[in-house]
């Protein structure tokens, strides 16, 4: 396969590309949204903060599965948590979550 010439275009596009590091971080962020369970958790938290076992009950999944996913969401800074006695409540970290999900919804509902 001999490639035809794109030298100029490639140069221009390459200049506009953010660092690999940034793009990796970006794709990791979207990967967090890229799972049904995690999307459901985030959507649930739109309404109200919730404890782990409530989310588990809502989604008909084990406490362990939910806890593992919440760990990912926390790492991505999409949710925060607060402890009240034995219970840990999770909540949306900021409004970017809503914005991103809303943009996604717009795209699929066309």
């Amino acid at each position: 396969m001999k490639e035809h010439d794109h030298t100029q275009l490639l140069h221009d596009v390459d200049c506009q590309m953010p660092k690999d590091e940034v793009l990796a971080e970006l794709s990791e962020l979207f990967a967090v949204f890229g799972d049904t369970t995690r999307i459901k958790i985030l959507w649930a938290l739109f309404e109200s903060e919730m404890c782990v076992c409530a989310i588990a009950e809502l989604l008909h999944m084990t406490q362990s599965a939910i806890s593992h996913q919440l760990k990912l969401l926390r790492h991505a800074k999409l949710v925060g948590s607060r402890r009240d006695g034995k219970t840990v409540y999770y909540f949306l970290a900021d409004d970017h979550v809503r914005s991103i999900i809303n943009q996604g919804m717009e795209h699929i509902s066309e």
Copy 2:
């Protein structure tokens, strides 16, 4: 593990949840953004439409790998394509792509 009671909350949250079908579609969309290669392709197309082998050269990847990924992007309706002779040019399908990626960038740069 006996669960404590969340009946009222669960009912309220459940009412606000979109159908599983919709949430699945939504997470599949974000999953497409959730890969470094695909994010790079989309970012490249911000600048200009490009043919497959130009993208491959830009990302230092094989034509085959890029072609497989473009298929996914096409399926998600994030890119479109047009043929000109032997060459196929890919371009961003609409502005949702830009909006979604911009929101993501905002989140990680805080």
